[in-house]
Amino acid sequence: MNDTELRKQLELCMGCGYCRDAYGDEGWLESLKTKHVCPVREILGFDSYTAKGRILLGKAILEEEIPMTPTARSIFYQCTLCGNCEAHCISRGLPFVPSDLKVREIIRYFREKIIEDGLEIPKAYQRIAFNLKQTGNVFGERQKRPRMPYLEENKDASIMYFAGCMVSYRESQVLEALNNVCKKLNLKIGILPEELCCGNVLLRTGQIEVAKSLMESNKNHLNEAGFKILVTSCPGCFSALKNEYPKYEFKLNFEVQHITEYFSNLPQLKDFLKNSKPIKVTYHDPCELGRLNKIFLQPRKILQTIPNVQLIEPFRSQLNAWCCGAGAGVQAAYPDLSKKIAFDRYKELKDTAPDCIITACPNCVHSLSQFGQIMDIIEIIERYII
């Protein structure tokens, strides 16, 4: 977004405050089944942390009414980019009619500007960039991955799995589950021997130049591998590869799919799922998968394919879903804030009294698991596969 576009964007906000609260269920507003809108504002309290607050601050900074102080920077950084404010924004329409007001882009603009102007960024972001330069993953760990014999056998397959940093280094049970599911279903899905971070966290924390060099390496590395479809469990990797790479003109010569898209279109899946005793599950919509990429139905279709699984929706789901608190670098830089948001969401998911809480994002699994067991969708498939 350039300066002119930004100024136009800032003027689109009519200041109604629907980015703060939107208790639905009243009269003709019934379909807005939510309560509060901004998870960060609900923890930190001041309206400065709503989209409206950030927009007013952004305008003041552009008009040089106020410099980009450390507090101003923290206001732009303490946002998970969950997009709930955009989903409920009334500018140019009613909620759920796509708004022209791109709050996430506005916040990203200011994050990029902070870097451009050479201002200090949270140490955690500096560390992530350092780690990526040194090791190619956000955790700064030596390149390793649990051995996945079946996936590794298929290194020449036309479908390749992109594990991403979180699955490779923190939530490796997701990879193990995928390995086992693919083996049982005899799916020809491979995994590359080496992988670099997709760069999503850099893009979302404004570190564009480091991200570009990573994207360039990934483009060359992945395009050379010659597969046709890349599937990933991580909505961050999915979104970066599918949306951000083309935006920055890193053309990829393969299709990018989220794992839920792939499995929901797999006709033989239902034939391999065994009957079991009835269980109740609830599903947490990851923000980047749901609100950002509109993948709501596919994970639900998979869950409904499993015999005797009853899906109970949490109070806020799909477009209204509450964030897990991990997004856009918030978990790394502001762990306390992130944990409080995650707890709010965990409580709400538990309110459905489920036997299992399911999601389709390793970052959400990581965040929500602080309070109890959370399963990635591939793990529940693994549990019920014959």
Binding site: M14, S48, I66, H88, V97
Partner: protein
């Protein structure tokens, strides 16, 4: 305040509300610099998020002693210039931490803290199949009870059957500028519940309703509640003449079967390209009922409508069935800035009002064409009168055009006030135009009350010029 005074005050008030609920950081303060009106932003010096009436009382005692301006604030979603520091400086009291809702056991009343939004109140009441009737303004998601009552907010939905939110008030809890906490109506007796408004002497609730935070801070309100209707039907007839449209609306209102009647001027349909047949404009009619009576009510309403027109559109009903937002977007899209001029008229003046606004549009055609301003106007029928509205949607951020738009808003406001509308909200945006037309005795009474309750003039300075120290 000078810098040292701000810091001193900050340290004192921090002890009352806790460090997490107070800020003098400009980066935090900018979020509190504006409402939804077309007025320019102004920065306060401090924002506090009190958690209780006692905290507010203690804050006001200190502010009054130090003569520091206090600006109570809720959702800041108003279109009239309210809820933020209109002169710059001072302390914003953001009441949105105070959101408790208590429904009485008998399900007939509800007590709600001022920072609760109208939509949260509706949400809690709905759990018991209750409603206050008018569910709040168009900005009900973010507009708070305290803010709404302070500007005498309106509610389109339900107004035709229940009136406006302020009419449902039983009792208010208010903190005076001195820090004293008062209860109005029955709750003035500490042994009594807040269940009745007109007792224990004068109706003091009425003093604070619509006072725009100039006399004290509303911290709690008790409303009378109703059972929610379970059935609803929608009609959107259009008419050959404005007269027939208005007459139909009046007759429908008298049935008391309708929860909402909105009348839209012919120009509205032309601009939207929705129905060129509507030479006399059209209505959106919502019928409220229960399973046992809805069919009879529908027949009655249909019979009345058929006396005046045989033309209907499918323009609005689906929207209010919450099924088709796209159509709503087609006519209600807003883009950054808008102004609304609204106020009450008797039913008998609706036709003249529509003609008057059309005349104004025609007379100012060149100026309107020069700007990106798109006027849309109509009327909402309440129990015994109509609330007319003119929405001026400003589609251009060009400052020159925007200034021209402001001029149009001002001129139209003047014209309509001279015509006799009584605006329910005033705010900074319309205060000069409104108060200059009121009877001097009325303004003097307001000034005397202000002087009595707020001798240091700390409450919401800049809101109404007539109340400024020296003028009062």
């Amino acid at each position: 305040m000078i810098l040292t005074q701000i810091e001193d005050t900050y340290h004192i008030l921090k002890e009352i509300v806790g460090v997490d609920n107070i800020s003098i950081d400009p980066a935090i303060l900018w979020a509190y610099s504006k409402d939804s009106s077309i007025l320019e932003p102004k920065l306060p010096e401090m924002v506090i998020r009190p958690g209780s009436v006692e905290e507010i009382s203690n804050i006001l005692k200190i502010a009054n002693e130090k003569k520091i301006p206090i600006i109570p604030s809720g959702g800041r979603s108003s279109l009239c210039g309210a809820g933020y520091s209109l002169k710059g400086g001072g302390i914003i009291l953001d009441l949105t931490r105070m959101t408790t809702v208590n429904i009485t056991e008998d399900g007939l009343n509800v007590e709600v803290e001022a920072g609760c939004t109208f939509s949260k109140l509706g949400f809690e009441l709905k759990k018991q199949n209750l409603t206050i009737g008018p569910p709040g303004p168009f900005s009900a998601f973010s507009a708070t009870i305290g803010g709404g009552l302070s500007v005498n907010t309106y509610s389109n939905y339900g107004a035709n059957l229940y009136g406006v939110p302020s009419e449902k008030i039983l009792s208010l809890e208010v903190v005076l500028p001195s820090g004293q906490i008062i209860q109005t109506g029955s709750a003035a007796n500490p042994n009594a519940k807040p269940i009745f408004r007109y007792c224990n002497g004068p109706d003091f609730a009425g003093l604070f309703l619509g006072s725009h935070g100039t006399l004290g801070i509303i911290t709690k309100a008790s409303f009378r509640v109703e059972n929610r209707h379970s059935e609803e039907a929608h009609y959107d007839p259009v008419f050959d003449t404005i007269e027939s449209c208005t007459q139909c609306a009046i007759e429908l209102t008298k049935t008391r079967y309708t929860g909402m009647i909105m009348q839209f001027a012919p120009i509205f349909y032309k601009q939207s390209g929705l129905d060129i047949r509507a030479k006399g404009g059209g209505l959106l009619v919502n019928v409220f009922g229960e399973p046992q009576n809805i069919e009879y009510r529908k027949q009655t309403i249909e019979k009345i409508i058929s006396k005046y027109t045989d033309m209907t559109t499918d323009t609005f009903a689906p929207i209010f069935n919450a099924k088709d937002y796209q159509k709503y977007r087609a006519w209600c899209c807003v883009n950054g800035r808008w102004a609304e001029i609204a106020g009450f008229l008797p039913f008998s003046q609706v036709t003249d009002y529509v003609k008057k606004v059309e005349e104004f549009m025609h007379k100012n055609k060149d100026l309107i064409n020069k700007t990106s301003l798109i006027p849309q106007f109509g009327a909402i029928y309440t129990l015994n009168c109509v609330n007319i509205f003119v929405l001026l949607l400003v589609y251009d951020i060009d400052e020159e055009h925007f200034e021209a738009s402001r001029l149009l808003v001002k001129n139209l406001t003047d014209d309509l006030l001279d015509f006799g509308i009584s605006p329910y909200w005033i705010g900074k945006a319309y205060s000069r135009a409104v108060f200059s037309r009121l009877r001097p005795e009325y303004v003097q009474l307001y000034q005397m009350i202000k002087k009595l309750l707020d001798p240091n003039g700390i409450m919401n300075p800049g809101m109404f010029e007539i109340l400024e120290v020296g003028k009062a």
